[in-house]
């Protein structure tokens, strides 16, 4: 098998994306890591968007024409980014790196080893298995295959429309969800590069790439908050070791994981903007939020959960009040919708769905101990940060939780909670941001710990010398 077409596609995504986002991160610690992680994800989306533009413009779904469009788009976005973030040049925080010695160094080695083993484990499955899980070949891979093999953006319609259109000689297609957004299938087409034969196992390369980019992106954002590599890598490990996330990479082809990566990147950038007040972070947050609806329809709702960060335009004294009102209003609306839906359901189903949520969050292997730790963090954090000082990130988490509650008990998904077809998949984007939020919440304690350990080490280093001087006379 000639792997060059796939490698070229991945490298082109990395290069063009890095150019497009590069200026957003100037002056930041370990900037290269931010550039390649955000750049890779942005480059993939640019590639898929370029294929779409070529298809719509009648140039055909072809790699090289899309690559040309992608390069033009990347240059334009890069220059726009450079202009928009020109004031960030010297605004980066000082790199006050905490040194890692001894146990911390051992932790770095151990974490890296665990992460590499995990990437290899899920990676082999991702690129060996032909499209395996249900929706991958029912609604995503179908479109990718037709567009790749026909080189045209052929329309997908319902079975009834297919019969009518096809009788008139129009080339149309049908699948399980013909109206789903085109970005994800085009991402799969992009992954195949300039190859000419459909190979659905190779499309998993992008999921593996996103897995690596996601881990590195989380580590980098944590490192910006607390420049201590053991902690940054520990957070990446926390996120990448979630079994449910791993399964979505190994069984590549669903849209939930790419959506989660983009959502988490947007969330982290929004928090970074709030914390460091840099235009580059705002640009990244806006760019990644804007991409969400093009992956899956729930992307619209997830994008709306980041609305609290818009409160930054308000005077700081009014922000907590506005955020509180937003959360109260959302809670009211969701409660009404849930009560309406649940009141029309039999009680055993309500109990069943609640029990299913408990089992999936706390008993099955989906999330390891994530939700236990989240509850513990919430309990300890609640004592320090009160409702009156509500932050945008906490408000986003609340809105995310409300969105999930509405999806589970306020929509037609309600009946599918007990049979677990959508529960964990709906939770995936939320779980990713919860990982980062836990890391942020614990960062001050970790910083004290690391500094204390450093001070102990210094004392131990100094103590014998001093005593030697004292004792000698």
């Amino acid at each position: 098998m000639n792997t060059l077409p796939f490698v070229v596609a991945q490298l082109l995504a990395l290069a063009t994306g890095s150019f497009a986002v590069g200026w957003a991160f100037r002056g930041l610690p370990a900037r290269w890591l931010g550039v390649v992680t955000y750049g890779y994800v942005a480059g993939l989306v640019l590639g898929a968007a370029s294929l779409y533009l070529c298809g719509v413009a009648g140039l055909g779904i072809r790699f090289w024409s899309a690559a040309a469009v992608q390069i033009v788009l990347a240059v334009a976005l890069g220059l726009l980014n450079r202009y928009a973030t020109r004031r960030d040049r010297d605004a980066g925080p000082k790199d006050v790196r905490l040194p890692a010695h001894g146990v911390a160094l051992l932790a770095i080695v151990l974490l890296l080893a665990l992460l590499i083993v995990r990437a290899i484990s899920v990676g082999i499955d991702a690129v060996t298995l032909p499209l395996y899980p249900w929706d991958a070949w029912q609604q995503w891979g179908t479109k990718a295959r037709v567009w790749f093999e026909t080189h045209e953006l052929r329309p997908f319609v319902s079975p009834a429309e297919w019969l009518a259109e096809s009788a008139r000689g129009v080339a149309v297609y049908t699948d399980a969800n013909p109206a789903y957004p085109p970005l994800l299938p085009l991402l799969q087409v992009w992954t195949l590069g300039y190859s000419t034969a459909w190979n659905d196992a190779v499309t998993g390369v992008t999921w593996l790439g996103l897995f690596c980019a996601f881990g590195a992106g989380v580590a980098w954002q944590v490192y910006r908050v607390l420049p201590y590599w053991p902690y940054a890598l520990g957070t990446a490990y926390l996120a990448l070791s979630l079994p449910f996330l791993d399964a979505h990479v190994a069984l590549a082809g669903y849209g939930d994981f790419p959506l989660s990566v983009l959502y988490c990147f947007a969330f982290m950038s929004a928090i970074a903007f709030q914390r460091f007040d840099r235009a580059g972070d705002a640009a990244m947050a806006l760019a990644f939020v804007a991409m969400l609806p093009f992956f899956k329809r729930p992307g619209i709702a997830w994008a709306l959960t980041l609305l609290p960060f818009a409160a930054v335009v308000l005077p700081s004294a009014r922000r907590p009040l506005v955020l509180r009102l937003l959360v109260i209003a959302a809670t009211g609306v969701v409660s009404v919708l849930m009560v309406f839906r649940v009141s029309h359901a039999a009680m055993p189903t309500v109990v069943e769905s609640l029990w299913s949520v408990v089992l999936n969050l706390f008993a099955w292997e989906n999330w390891h101990l994530l939700w236990y730790i989240a509850l513990l963090t919430l309990a300890t954090r609640w004592r320090r940060a009160s409702w009156r000082s509500l932050e945008a990130s906490a408000a986003t988490l609340m809105l995310g939780g409300l969105f999930l509650a509405w999806a589970f008990w306020g929509t037609e998904l309600y009946s599918s909670i007990a049979n677990v077809t959508t529960l964990n998949r709906a939770l995936l984007p939320f779980a990713c941001i919860v990982c980062y939020f836990i890391a942020l919440s614990m960062a001050p304690a970790i910083e004290r710990l690391a500094q204390g350990a450093r001070a102990d080490e210094t004392r131990r280093e100094e103590a014998p010398v001093q005593s030697h001087v004292d004792v000698a006379p």
Partner: protein, 398 residues
């Protein structure tokens, strides 16, 4: 000025206290891990004595209904065209099989909704065939606990596996193991459930289960409880805030990594299974090796026949899985199929030159005499193109 004795003496007790607190916090997890390791170590020998395994060889099992053959993957029984059942039986079994009511059947029904049953006979009622339903997903079966089944008693004289399905359905049998009931056996069974390897299946994208889904106790809950006990014990040692933070972090990391190593081992076994099943050959070889390899072959035969001038294909089948897979493999032909409801089109919608893939279905029949496909609202003249395991491809003729 610092007194050298004080300077040296002040550090070790602090580190010792932290070390002691860390040990106390980790103690529940350590004790549990040690108990588990000891059980695994010492129970294996006993387990070997008390478990009865019925394997697959030249003598048994035999197909009492359907067509059977011994293959490297196990004993394969196919539902024949004149009946809807395939049965593989071990006509001779150890005398004390009846004392082991925990039964695991290592068998795979190729069709996900096939009705799979364990069947057995007793010497006191030799004319009656007893049965118990075996729950199964794509590639795994759940163990059966027959300890409360009134029919699993006395001397068992024969045992087997039966599958009800369509003609051509395949059942792959690799063996049956029977365990004793009782506390030790139940603990052993629980531990087995925890460490049993589980390949990817249709549910893996929605729910992660490591080991058997039927375990009485979840390892995640057990580890969470042990970690919580560790935190409680830690609070009793009254460490400094900084030490408590560090120790709690260590405890969380150990608990997390313990669960994650188990997941990692499961992932390794999944990778190994994937490589064994699909290999690393060309994508066509992997499609052929997949569970729907037959459907791929059939779709390929149709695509070879297609001239590339806008032919259409229709997929008729009762099962959403086979219907969807056939439609996927037929692409980029313009394929009609109803992914959700499986409704069939009006016969007038088909025209000469169209292809029809008839999968396992009760809605459509092929009239061999008249060479016509007949369904509720359709009746078309066709020519058969290819046939695999009861699935057939046709081309519509004028």
């Amino acid at each position: 000025m610092i007194d050298s004795r004080t300077a040296h003496a002040s550090t070790p007790p602090t580190r010792h206290a932290v070390g002691r607190a860390l040990f106390i916090a980790l103690l529940p997890l350590i004790l549990f891990g040690a108990a588990l390791a000891a059980f695994l170590l010492f129970n294996r020998a006993d387990d070997a004595r008390s478990t009865i395994s019925l394997g697959v060889d030249q003598k048994a099992p035999v197909a009492s209904l359907g067509q059977g053959k011994l293959t490297p993957a196990g004993y394969e029984v196919t539902v024949s065209t004149d009946g809807g059942v395939a049965v593989a039986v071990w006509p001779s079994v150890p005398e004390d099989l009846g004392a082991r009511p925990i039964i695991r059947c290592e068998c795979i029904a190729l069709r996900p909704d096939a009705d799979l049953r364990l069947i057995w006979r007793r010497d006191d009622r030799p004319n009656i065939l007893f049965s118990a339903r075996i729950e199964h997903e794509l590639a795994t079966t759940r163990p059966l606990d027959l300890s409360t089944n009134p029919n699993w008693t006395g001397r068992i004289t024969g045992i087997g596996v039966a599958m009800r399905g369509y003609a051509g359905d395949l059942l792959q049998v690799r063996g049956i193991t029977a365990h004793r009931a009782g506390t030790a056996a139940r603990i052993a069974s629980l531990v087995d459930d925890w460490q049993s390897k589980r390949p990817w299946d249709g549910q893996s994208i929605n729910l992660i289960i490591v080991g058997s889904p039927d375990r009485a106790l979840s390892p995640v809950v057990v580890v969470a409880i042990l970690a919580a006990i560790g935190l409680l014990l830690l609070s009793r040692t009254r460490p400094s805030t900084r030490a408590a933070t560090g120790i709690a972090l260590c405890l969380g990391a150990v608990a997390w990594i313990a669960l994650d190593l188990r997941w990692q081992l499961d992932l390794v076994s999944k990778v190994s299974k994937t490589l064994h099943e699909y290999g690393t050959g060309s994508i066509e070889e992997r499609w052929r090796a997949a569970p729907d390899g037959d459907i791929y072959m059939l779709a390929t035969a149709v695509k070879h026949k297609a001239s590339g001038s806008g032919e259409r294909a229709f997929v008729f089948g009762d099962e959403p899985y086979t219907r969807g897979r056939a439609a996927y493999h037929l692409l980029p032909l313009a394929v009609y199929y109803d992914a959700v409801a499986g409704t069939l089109p009006d016969g007038k919608a088909l025209r000469p030159g169209d292809f029809v893939l008839m999968l396992w279905t009760r809605q459509v029949r092929f009239d061999t005499q008249a060479s016509r496909l007949v369904w509720e609202n359709g009746n078309v003249h066709v020519a058969p193109l290819a046939s695999v395991h009861g699935m057939t491809a046709f081309q519509v003729e004028p």
